[in-house]
């Protein structure tokens, strides 16, 4: 191997290692470099996540329909949807959540019309925030609250 090539490769090694190690030590994310902080926090605190629910008319009775699959929340998977909502709120962009969710409901209706899923026809929909506290032997206490509701 030529010396010049060795110098170039050594430089590349130094850059890659510094970036990987830098994010490991100081934290933060700059894809593809990461601090890999998944599951690093304490789960004693209250966990929070978001779901989208539809309200369906079933012979005069209103029933809840969960957007619990990718085909309904397209293109998001439920976990990705929850993380995306959380991220919007964390970045102080709450105002974009409502039009974003409306866009997903539009996607749902458009894909239903194209028979791309077998979900029911919605009357209303709502974004629900779940707060769960894990209390040792007693298990979890689950509290849910509607963040906003929309009508179709």
């Amino acid at each position: 191997m030529k010396t010049q090539k060795k110098i170039f490769v050594s430089f590349l090694i130094a850059v890659m290692t510094s970036l990987t190690l830098g994010f490991a030590v100081f934290g933060g994310e700059f894809f593809p470099f990461s601090s890999y902080s998944m599951y690093s926090g304490s789960f004693k605190k209250t966990a929070r996540w978001y779901t989208l629910e539809g309200l369906v008319d079933n012979n005069g009775q209103e029933q809840t329909f969960n957007f619990d699959r990718r085909e309904f929340l397209y293109p998001f998977r439920p976990q990705e949807f929850s993380e995306a909502i959380e991220s919007r709120i964390r970045h102080g962009q709450m105002q974009s959540v409502i039009p974003g969710v409306q866009g997903l409901v539009k996607n749902y209706n458009r894909r239903q019309a194209l028979a791309l899923h077998q979900g029911p026809t919605l009357h209303r929909y709502r974004l629900v925030v779940h707060r769960v506290t894990y209390g040792g032997e007693q298990g979890a206490s689950h509290d849910e609250q509607t963040m906003f509701e929309g009508t179709l």
């Binding site: 191997m1 090539k5 060795k6 490769v9 050594s10 590349l12 090694i13 890659m16 290692t17 990987t20 190690l21 994010f23 490991a24 030590v25 994310e29 700059f30 894809f31 593809p32 470099f33 990461s34 601090s35 890999y36 902080s37 998944m38 599951y39 690093s40 926090g41 304490s42 789960f43 966990a47 996540w49 779901t51 969960n66 619990d68 699959r69 397209y74 293109p75 998001f76 998977r77 976990q79 990705e80 929850s82 993380e83 995306a84 909502i85 959380e86 991220s87 919007r88 974009s96 959540v97 039009p99 974003g100 866009g103 997903l104 996607n107 779940h130 769960v132 894990y134 040792g136 979890a140």
Partner: protein
């Protein structure tokens, strides 16, 4: 001088071109099959309010690409992965694969969420972009009829993958210490994580392919939770030792493999796409020699 020699010995000691070539074939094939799981074009249909550019998309204020552009880039990307695996115009294919992997995954993650398993793929692509991995077991080698001699050219990319791989686990261990401290492993934290995951996945939020028998078994035995938490943190923090000798490498790689399988069964976090990275730890030339020897013995 001694340090320089050690540096040279670690990164540039000669190795067979076949070792890196087999890693190339397995890695790009694995990445190709993983690429089929995610439809990047579907993300063009996400409402624009969810667009949250990260990494260089954010740095250079790159706008969301159109559906057509994503479709074309995805086709090119998959082709580059196939070409790289077969070693067809290897250098160009690897450069295209690295650039497009970075671009498409950054686009994918610019919607407010992040999955960690794919980051390592992109880093490895960026490393292989500079590697001469098409010198053996490739269409290029077959066309040029060139036989490459063992060289340091085939060693440093594999060692570089070792470094980024172990630093990924080291970073995860360090993040636990930074965010929670030693109590991450010494308290009932692991039981809380298990309770959270069982509950979270039972709400239909995550896609789970294994039953919750395993996490329940762990939940019933606090000592098992405690032991596994200490084990995970220790293995993660000790992972850089894989760079210091064959024995620690053998032990730690086996421990990390067990840990990843355990995490899949107990915490439902699917690390299967990452399994292909273990190819970089196997002594391929020795395996091939053993197979040849075995075949000879069988023939005799």
């Amino acid at each position: 001088m001694k340090q320089a020699n050690r540096w040279d010995q670690f990164w540039f000691s000669t190795s067979d071109p076949g070792d890196l070539a087999i890693c190339r074939i397995l890695f790009y094939s694995g990445l190709f099959f993983t690429s089929l799981i995610e439809s990047f074009t579907s993300w063009s249909e996400a409402p624009p309010e969810f667009w949250q550019p990260v990494s260089f998309f954010n740095l250079f204020h790159i706008a969301a690409p159109s559906a057509w552009m994503i479709l074309v880039l995805t086709v090119l990307w998959r082709l580059s992965l196939i070409f790289s695996a077969f070693g067809f115009y290897t250098r160009i294919s690897q450069v295209v694969a690295a650039i497009l992997s970075t671009y498409l995954y950054v686009f994918f993650y610019s919607h407010g969420f992040l999955h960690h398993p794919y980051q390592l793929f992109v880093v490895i692509c960026l490393i292989l972009m500079f590697a001469k991995s098409g010198e053996a077991f490739s269409v290029d080698a077959w066309r040029t009829k060139k036989t490459s001699q063992p060289s340091g050219e085939f060693t440093w990319p594999v060692k570089m993958v070792w470094v980024v791989w172990c630093l990924m686990f080291f970073a995860a261990g360090l993040a636990k210490l930074r965010n929670t401290g030693l109590s991450w492993a010494t308290s009932e934290n692991m039981q809380d994580i298990l309770r959270h995951n069982i509950y979270y996945f039972s709400q239909g939020l995550g896609h789970r392919q294994v039953s919750d028998d395993w996490p329940n078994l762990f939940l019933q035995s606090p000592w098992l939770c405690q032991l596994s938490a200490i084990g995970v943190l220790s293995v993660e923090l000790l992972s850089p030792l894989i760079l210091f000798g064959r024995r620690p490498r053998l032990i730690l790689v086996a421990c990390i493999f067990t840990m990843q399988v355990g995490i899949w069964y107990v915490l439902f976090v699917d690390f299967r796409p990452q399994l292909v990275c273990y190819a970089f730890f196997l002594p391929w030339s020795r395996i091939v020699d053993c197979m040849k020897l075995g075949r000879k013995k069988y023939a005799n």
